[in-house]
């Protein structure tokens, strides 16, 4: 049957122009906020900003950035943070399952667990950086449980600053994962789990064979989301907690871009790093998209 006949909205040809008006504001904004900057960033990375008018210098900026040790350190720190994604996902998963099993009052737990996510990063960052300082709460707690001897200046220790930030990020993002998984779990048919339980499958078995496949797509979504977070949404944590310190031990790519652009006034470096960050992000997304397709095929 003619699809135009089925839908009256489509019948009148005069509607062919209407979509434009509805789409215009949104896509104007998108063009302005996404397309223009991406193009410009690529263009800027090929210019020398110190001279007026800005001179085209080809890939010279790229050369300078690739020689910059701080850039590699920043990327490396991002990679280290990416390693936390599996940890985070696992914790969130386990928590979600546990909460789901113990039905009583689960809504309360759900509320609690999301609380970190609604708090401003500025507030969390400030409170936590105090908490992890030498005379802050964390060392006090360690002392109270008898572990006082491992007291450290966590937030400024060169080896521990980044893990401390990672811990705070995990603390915040896990809550989101929990409610995500919970939502999926609660919409899962009870019979499957019951059947498995009757069959005598242990907790771990149930977990692996049933829950994970069911939640597969959601887990994958959460992982992808957090990969993006670890690459490009943790600026505020670093800025408020350590400002990149000590030394350059907590610089991440976003922070590198920010500093190079607004502090050192080296736009060339900043835009090159931005381009590279963009490319890396896109690569990750493509990989995860392919993986998602593969997953969809398997299940």
């Amino acid at each position: 049957m003619n699809r135009f006949a089925a839908n009256p909205l489509l019948q009148a040809r005069r509607f062919s122009l209407k979509p434009l008006f509805y789409l215009l504001p949104a896509f104007l904004v998108i063009g302005f906020i996404y397309i223009y900057p991406v193009v410009e960033v690529c263009r800027f990375s090929l210019l020398d900003f110190l001279k007026t008018p800005r001179q085209f210098v080809g890939f010279r900026n790229y050369g300078l950035v690739f020689q910059d040790e701080r850039f590699y350190q920043s990327l490396f720190h991002n990679v280290l943070l990416l390693l936390n994604v599996p940890i985070m996902s696992t914790i969130a998963l386990v928590l979600a399952v546990v909460i789901n099993d113990h039905v009583h009052g689960w809504k309360v737990y759900r509320s609690l667990v999301l609380t970190p996510y609604v708090m401003p990063i500025v507030a969390i960052g400030f409170a936590m950086s105090n908490f992890f300082s030498l005379n802050g709460g964390f060392n006090q707690i360690l002392a109270m449980v008898g572990l006082g001897f491992i007291k450290k200046q966590w937030i400024v220790d060169p080896s521990w600053a980044l893990p401390t930030i990672a811990a705070v990020i995990i603390w915040r993002q896990t809550g989101f994962g929990v409610i995500l998984f919970l939502a999926r779990l609660s919409s899962m048919p009870e019979e499957i789990i019951e059947a498995a339980r009757i069959d005598g499958a242990g907790w771990w078995r149930r977990f692996r064979k049933i829950i994970i496949p069911e939640l597969g797509t959601v887990i994958e979504f959460f992982v992808t989301l957090n990969i993006i977070v670890m690459l490009s949404q943790i600026f505020a944590f670093v800025f408020v907690m350590t400002n990149g310190g000590p030394g350059y031990k907590t610089w991440i790519t976003e922070f590198y871009i920010y500093k190079e652009a607004f502090h050192y006034n080296r736009m060339g470096h900043a835009t090159v790093a931005a381009v590279i960050l963009l490319i890396i992000t896109v690569i990750f997304i493509i990989i995860s998209y392919r993986y998602r397709e593969k997953l969809a095929e398997e299940y």
Partner: protein
């Protein structure tokens, strides 16, 4: 599970407890409950020059962004869901793909542009960027929801002689109240808590948002931790209140994005 309550809510306790301490009490023991409640920090933070201004700025930015963003995205989602035109699929996929672009990548050219058109340190620059940042997500959510609105409803309205905009206003929007509310909450959260964009585009002291003001709130040579904690408490409070009352919507909004696409 008390453990979980403590772990998740600890920073809130930390902030509020220390906000109620005097400087000396904080120096003595940052972990404890305040030995005596000191309200001076709160009164002082409110009389700190520009603090209320920052609060007001955050409020204005949040409200304007949310309203405009919802409206713009609703319009676009309506077209993307219920209308047919060439390239629709492409536009849909394209706008979803935009979600992955890191904010910092966009910031530099936008900053240079804003400087050139002298929009730095003015509200519109930040507002339009916030709208842009949230738009793909909003469009995705709304489109998924609009698609579920039964066609017969629209058909009968058409027969009654309703124009497309009429349908939009009389059918699509009212039915979408829950999802719009969710988006309202999520978007408010995003704008209120944001640091990077506000930091770069609203630099003047009297234009700063609450987050930026607090992050940079230290005189060059002195610091008063309980006072800053009081500021943090005030900054966190609205979101917490919103959370307590609109929890359901927030959760729906956050997970709708991931589940709707399954």
């Amino acid at each position: 599970m008390l453990v979980m309550a403590v772990v998740t809510c600890y920073p809130i306790y930390y902030i509020f407890a220390n906000a109620l301490k005097s400087r000396a009490a904080y120096a003595d023991n940052p972990l404890s409950l305040p030995p005596n409640l000191v309200l001076a920090n709160f009164s002082q933070i409110f009389t700190t020059p520009n603090f209320l201004r920052w609060f007001y700025n955050s409020l204005i930015l949040t409200c304007t962004t949310v309203v405009l963003c919802l409206f713009i995205s609703a319009l676009a989602s309506y077209a993307l869901s219920k209308m047919y035109f060439p390239g629709k699929k492409l536009l849909i996929n394209f706008s979803i793909a935009l979600m992955v672009i890191p904010t910092i990548v966009m910031i530099i050219p936008l900053f240079v542009l804003m400087v050139r058109v002298r929009l730095v340190n003015r509200y519109p620059s930040a507002i339009i960027i916030y709208i842009g940042m949230y738009l793909p997500f909003a469009m995705y959510l709304l489109r998924s929801f609009f698609v579920t609105i039964p066609q017969p409803l629209i058909d009968s309205a058409l027969i009654d002689g309703c124009g497309s905009f009429g349908i939009f206003v009389r059918i699509m929007l009212p039915l979408s109240k829950p999802i719009l509310l969710s988006m309202f909450v999520v978007c408010s959260l995003y704008v209120w808590n944001d640091l990077l964009i506000a930091l770069i585009f609203l630099q003047r002291e009297h234009l700063r948002t609450l987050m930026v003001g607090l992050a940079l709130f230290h005189g060059r040579f002195s610091i008063n931790v309980p006072l800053i904690m009081a500021g943090m408490a005030v900054a966190t409070a609205p979101m917490l209140i919103l959370y307590i009352f609109a929890q359901r919507y927030l959760i729906t909004g956050l997970i709708a994005g991931s589940l709707a696409g399954q």
